[in-house]
């Protein structure tokens, strides 16, 4: 009823021939013509699957710590820089609460006036006001009467540093993956390593069975390179569990070489001069909305307790 044909599909002499693969096709001659089953050598499991997974996990952990080492601390901002940002924040806070302001009118208007005046004179700019007569903070001669242009992404040395750091990160992420892939390709190619528990379409066959020249074999039987890819995609969660929940720098966008500009790029240099001008107009605009929250509070309280007639 059953004829069992053993055939050697591959004879690998690496590892003293212990990785040789015995493919035994069992032909069920009764009804199913091609319901075949393969038995794989357990040493494939011990010497291929486990090493690949172990190496990938360890390399992921190592990469995490290398990335931590490579991360240079963001440079502390100088005092004028912080003052520049804080001035803007203060003005925005004032405006945001203008409709129900807890500040009494004298205070509100004084603060608003002061901020507007400061923005007009641009005393909060980190390079000082651009007036040619005034000597700037560093003692440097202020030869340029004009405002300096907003620094472009490439001219600013600190921006270059950031891009360099990004490049280093990508290198650290990409290089180990290439090396492991080369390692898997070199040592573990040419034989079936594992069976997937779910079917794939025939389109995957050249990719998942690379190096195995058996045109009739089911797509579920895949090579060790496919096991590498399974690990590559599946181990991200393991890294997260092992290394804590913070970003391990191994998200797929970085893997594929497309850094997510929105998250990885540092703050875009801004022209604070322009921002201040705009903020001044906003302040003037929001003065129209200003309403003190304590306005007529005496009447309201008295009305609440029935001492004054409701209007």
């Amino acid at each position: 009823m059953q004829s069992q044909i053993d055939l050697f599909a591959e004879f690998c002499h690496r590892r003293d021939g212990c990785l040789c693969l015995f493919l035994s096709y069992i032909h069920h001659s009764s009804s199913m013509a091609s319901a075949t089953s393969l038995y794989l050598d357990p040493s494939i499991r011990d010497w291929v699957l486990f090493p690949i997974s172990l190496v990938m996990i360890l390399v992921g952990v190592l990469r995490h710590y290398v990335l931590l080492l490579l991360q240079n601390k963001p440079k502390p901002q100088t005092r004028p820089q912080i003052r520049e940002q804080r001035a803007l924040t203060r003005s925005q806070l004032l405006r945001a609460t203008a409709a129900h302001s807890p500040l009494a009118p004298p205070f509100y208007h004084t603060i608003s006036q002061n901020l507007k005046q400061a923005f007009t004179d641009s005393v909060y700019l980190k390079d000082g006001p651009p007036a040619p007569k005034k000597v700037t903070k560093g003692g440097t001669d202020s030869d340029e009467p004009e405002f300096p242009q907003a620094p472009s992404l490439f001219s600013d040395p600190s921006q270059m540093d950031n891009m360099m750091a990004q490049f280093k990160t990508q290198t650290v992420v990409m290089i180990p993956q290439m090396v492991i892939m080369g390692w898997v390709n070199f040592f573990f190619s040419g034989f079936v390593a594992i069976k997937l528990p779910f079917p794939l379409t025939l389109g995957f066959k050249p990719m998942m069975q690379r190096g195995i020249s058996t045109p009739d074999m089911d797509t579920r039987w895949v090579s060790s390179l496919s096991w590498y890819f399974l690990n590559f995609f599946g181990l991200n969660g393991v890294y997260r569990l092992l290394l804590g929940n913070e970003d391990t720098g191994v998200d797929l966008q970085q893997m594929t070489g497309m850094p997510n500009m929105a998250t990885t790029s540092p703050a875009v240099p801004q022209d604070y001069n322009k921002l201040f001008k705009q903020e001044k107009e906003n302040l003037e605009f929001d003065e129209g909305f200003y309403k003190w929250i304590g306005e007529d509070v005496e009447d309201r309280v008295l009305r609440k307790y029935g001492k004054l007639p409701f209007v």
Binding site: L40, D41, L49, I194, P197, G234, N236, G237, R240, L241
Partner: protein, 124 residues
């Protein structure tokens, strides 16, 4: 791993915040914390269900069915026991994140499924 307590993301009771700007009442740190915890829970449940599917020898759709059953079960447990039955108060988009499988989760499941299926049913 950090503490496994989910945090309420709303600063003030919803009744008070109804007239205020609704964007400002959600604490982003708490949202991120909850999402982190949730992804850990999802990944672990996916790993265990993958191992179970592999050991049981499930193939094709029955394996993925087990994955979704375990996902729903863990979501139910989290929303009942950790969120007190009101997941919308703890997650930003009304609790849909509880049942949304991420890419890491799915691939972790497939990895463990394949591994255990191979170890138990393919070798020897």
């Amino acid at each position: 791993m950090s503490t496994a307590h989910v945090q309420q993301i709303v600063h003030s009771p919803p009744a008070m915040s109804a007239n205020a700007n609704t964007n400002n009442v959600i604490n982003p740190a708490a949202v991120a914390h909850n999402v982190n915890i949730l992804s850990s829970v999802h990944f672990l449940s996916a790993c265990f269900s993958g191992a179970a599917a592999g050991i049981l020898g499930l193939t094709n759709f029955s394996g993925f069915l087990l994955f979704f059953v375990s996902l729903l079960f863990s979501a139910l447990c989290v929303s009942t026991f950790r969120c007190g039955g009101h997941p919308a108060q703890y997650l930003s988009d009304g609790g849909w994140e509880l049942v949304k499988p991420t890419q890491d989760t799915v691939f972790g499941f497939i990895l463990l499924w394949t591994l255990f299926y191979g170890i138990v049913h393919v070798y020897d």
